[in-house]
Symmetry: C2
Subunit: 345 residues, 2 copies
């Protein structure tokens, strides 16, 4: 294997697979996530955003916070096939991990919004997620908690409690939820002992099989794109197999449900593979519980390839090298409404 | 006001109210909570207990952790009148705060168990709380998460994953959830500037009114008792007023529902008043949203006294001196089931 430094931490690896050379560009995750021009990440926004992210009082019942479905003490999701919102209601898609979501150029499975700021506003008024009647209700609630005011002032200035700033603070916090320095990152940066022999073998199998045609880039979610420009793939692409039937993969029309265009049928934003060992169950409908099965399924439905057990094991081992380490996070103190409650439902 | 040191941080304060001297013993909260002989608090148990306390996978749906209803980022409860468990089900009583619950000699509103260890087991199999079919199911789940094993081994030795140790670890963590060093504690320890003039006035009014006949001791939940021996009060005691009708106070028979004895009708364990500014809404049924109203109601239903607005304001100010500071807590990492999910429902 010959490696050649390109720029920064990007490395080009030439791999010989039979007679066919496969080119894969291996990149370490940046230490800082990109932010849009109108919302540079500041310590004050991050501090406020952490409070809002963890505060279940944002929901109509006072029981569902951002963290309920995107649990940062876990893999950034909720271990469920589909999430459970207010009143035990369930949705149709599995919660994507919040970890490294800052490296997606569009948000949601169908890429229907551009930024984390836009994403953060969605669940608040979704009747099966946080169930608020409208954003004004949420803003009024936050205004009724005196302890939030100084944090908004520090982050955004006077009289700044509104839905846009609430979303900006949450997005700023989410941009700190990244996991550089995984075993893979160390390996790519030159520490050749950071990954096991099996993981290195799995990395090569991963590229040779063709997984990198979609799962490329530092976050393994496709090439770097400007905010708002999504990288999508049709899932499943190959349907001449039993997987659709077994896991009901085609019931969800993907991006077509957002755009109304037939050309977007079954198109999904390519998800990150980072921390995938911690984010079961898998796929948009959370139908596959086991990572080995997910790898086998992807090879068949996306590349029409049948992987051997050994190839699957090696790839799974490699995927393990993409997990963590997670930063240590201090719990925020959620300010009280001193001597009164604002949860009505 | 004459003060005289007794032992440790206990102080006897003689207060002159008109011609009648009122005696109240003001105690600061100990820096360490008491633990039962068979479960001394250790750092290893506390670390494991924090993980289990925060882990929603203990519930049948994977959505309800101990922290869901006893949120340590808030006042140790959930801002709701009655808590919401799995599938949006609600119970009949308001979640008591976990902060300083280690200073209760019996647990639950009706004192039906002796220790935090016993309490921790209850919600797991309660169909409207965590909804597990039995403790074996929960233990099997924890055993299926490889990352928990070393933590149990460090805390309890080899082959130690069982429901008793799970509860012991949670209880050990809860015994660290205490808030000494409030303004009141500092005041009692000698820093006479720690409380405002209004708070000192409120403290005297609190004692003179007779609130200390029940809300005495370091945690304001009655005299220190051995584990298993509860300190109860009948609520409401005086019913010749409109409060029962307004807030439906007598629908719940309290301890009678646990013991079956008519003598226990409407008897409740005297709750702590610490951090009460952060634990609205109030009472066993969470029926009173406002702390001033709660104070007025208690004076009438328990002591048959009508407080003036000023007396209420002063007492509320004093109660504010019993809040916090809360310790800083680092979020635990909840170990994943690497590449598979164990939430079935």
């Amino acid at each position: 294997m010959n490696t050649k430094k390109l720029m920064g931490s990007a490395v080009v690896v030439m791999m010989m697979s039979g007679s066919m050379p496969a080119l894969a560009s291996w990149e370490a995750l940046p230490d800082v996530a990109p932010a849009p021009e109108n919302n540079p990440t500041t310590a004050e926004k991050v501090e406020l955003g952490k409070m809002l992210y963890m505060d279940p009082r944002i929901s109509s019942t006072g029981t569902v916070s951002c963290n309920s479905c995107h649990n940062i003490m876990e893999g950034g999701d909720d271990s469920r096939a589909v999430s459970m919102g207010v009143h035990g209601k369930t949705g149709g898609r599995s919660a994507p991990t919040v970890w490294n979501s800052a490296f997606h150029s569009v948000q949601f499975w169908d890429g229907r919004v551009d930024l984390l700021e836009d994403q953060a506003k969605g669940p608040i008024t979704n009747p099966i997620e946080m169930g608020e009647p409208d954003h004004d209700t949420t803003v009024a609630k936050i205004k009724a908690i005196p302890g939030y005011k100084p944090y908004f002032e520090k982050a955004f200035g006077a009289d700044s409690i509104n839905i846009d700033n609430l979303a900006k603070a949450i997005a700023a916090f989410e941009r700190t939820l990244i996991t550089p320095n995984s075993a893979y990152d160390k390996y790519v940066k030159g520490d050749k002992k950071a990954m096991t022999a099996q993981q290195v073998r799995g990395m090569n199998t991963f590229a040779e099989t063709g997984c990198t045609s979609c799962h490329s880039g530092a976050a393994f979610n496709g090439p770097k794109m400007p905010f708002g420009q999504g990288f999508y793939a049709k899932f499943p692409t190959f349907t001449d197999n039993d997987y659709d039937k077994k896991y009901n993969l085609m019931a969800d029309k993907g991006r077509e449900e957002a755009t109304g265009k037939a050309a977007d049928a079954h198109m999904f934003r390519v998800p990150t593979l980072r921390n995938i060992t911690d984010t079961a169950p898998y796929f948009h409908n959370g139908s596959v519980n086991d990572l080995s099965e997910a790898v086998r399924l992807m090879a068949k439905t996306q590349l029409n390839k049948d992987l051997s057990d050994k190839e699957v094991e090696d790839i799974v081992a490699f995927l393990g090298a993409l997990t963590g380490p997670y930063p240590e996070i201090t719990m925020p103190r959620l300010p009280a409404t001193s001597g009164s409650s604002l949860v009505a439902e």
